[in-house]
Symmetry: C2
Amino acid sequence: MTLPRLKRSTLGDDVYDTLRSAVLEHTLQPGDRVNIDGLARELEVSPTPVREALARLESEGLVRKRPLAGYTVSPLLTRAEFNDMFEMRLLLECAAARWAATRATAAQRSELVTEATRTIAGGDDRQWHAAFTALDAHLHDLIATASGSPLLRDSIARLHAHLHLHRRYFPYAQTAVTNDEHQDIAAAIERADPEAAETAMRVHLTRARERHLVAFQE
Amino acid sequence: MTLPRLKRSTLGDDVYDTLRSAVLEHTLQPGDRVNIDGLARELEVSPTPVREALARLESEGLVRKRPLAGYTVSPLLTRAEFNDMFEMRLLLECAAARWAATRATAAQRSELVTEATRTIAGGDDRQWHAAFTALDAHLHDLIATASGSPLLRDSIARLHAHLHLHRRYFPYAQTAVTNDEHQDIAAAIERADPEAAETAMRVHLTRARERHLVAFQE
DNA sequence: GGTTCGTAGATCCTATAGGATCTTTCCTGG
DNA sequence: CCAGGAAAGATCCTATAGGATCTACGAACC
């Protein structure tokens, strides 16, 4: 019999979750100054837990700290940083796909296939895109988890936080193609074909990179 | 004219550095409970900056937090975690060596060769081993930096913190071989041969893994 | 007009205090 | 002797207050 972990949470953790979401959903926009006291008043807590949450967010790179001058939300990726991120994604996520193909459990494989074939229901444009992005993130996380390497999963998760931030600013439209690519990856992993899984992931990421590159055209 | 960044530091940052060193040098041992108030008294600061430092260290995985019950220093790697770490090292550091071979600056190449040929001067056994470990960490960081990918370097740095923790507990003796392997890598990078650099790194890490494995024999 | 200086306001950082929770110890009952 | 429970102590977490630093604005000077 397994009971649900009863949650003994602290305010610091709650503030962290709230702030993290606020940054990712760009309620707090890149470059914005983060007023500790103001935020504390708004969340109806004291500055102490807010500081603790900010310290953690800084370690993840979502905010930057300037000593004695406060925190600011991390700016959007430069073109160089964007390229670096996709090189890292190629390195990490291709490995994740390869490993997942040989190590994933049966349950993970079937969940992966199910999620890859899911489509997003209607809603307004903005809402729909948010849901699509969430699904995409979830899928990549499933693969990272199925790789069986906690460290690999953690590294990928860190990257995706920044990717998410970028994506919210530059939505793109070709989601049907993305879905097809996802299904290719899922299928390869499902039939335990590491070579195909890695290749499918490489294709997917390479194309995704192209799709996102329009953000840097001026 | 470039002036040295004048340091406007906060107590939180100082405490962070001190605590991080304490964990890495196992002044604070794995599994130890971290008494916030006690630490604050010892460092002669208030608990507030100590909490901030601990929040950051937790994000890096050097300490663990149990809500309402304090922090503990992260335990040593299990055998599974150790294997996971070396799989990640193979993935990340081989890529770093490959990229460094094509992208490193001239200054980086020469520094790498210099450092790889350096030997550790005497001192007592413990001291000597600490110096050797530091040199090894520095060398791997040089390669990670020379890869030209800040994200890759950061990921590798995170891994090495845990590796360092493990190593301080299970020193091994075959340092001469290690030096040779380092020189092989440095030479390959110096002559801009990515294939050889990756291979040399792979050989080095595979053998290093074997050398460290004795820690798990009972 | 542009630059430098000085002041006022806002913000950050640290210390302290008290309520809430956990841990340990001791005691009681079986 | 062992299990269960209660109370005391230690520890954690949050709020508040005040000193220190930064930022912004306006005046004086070149």
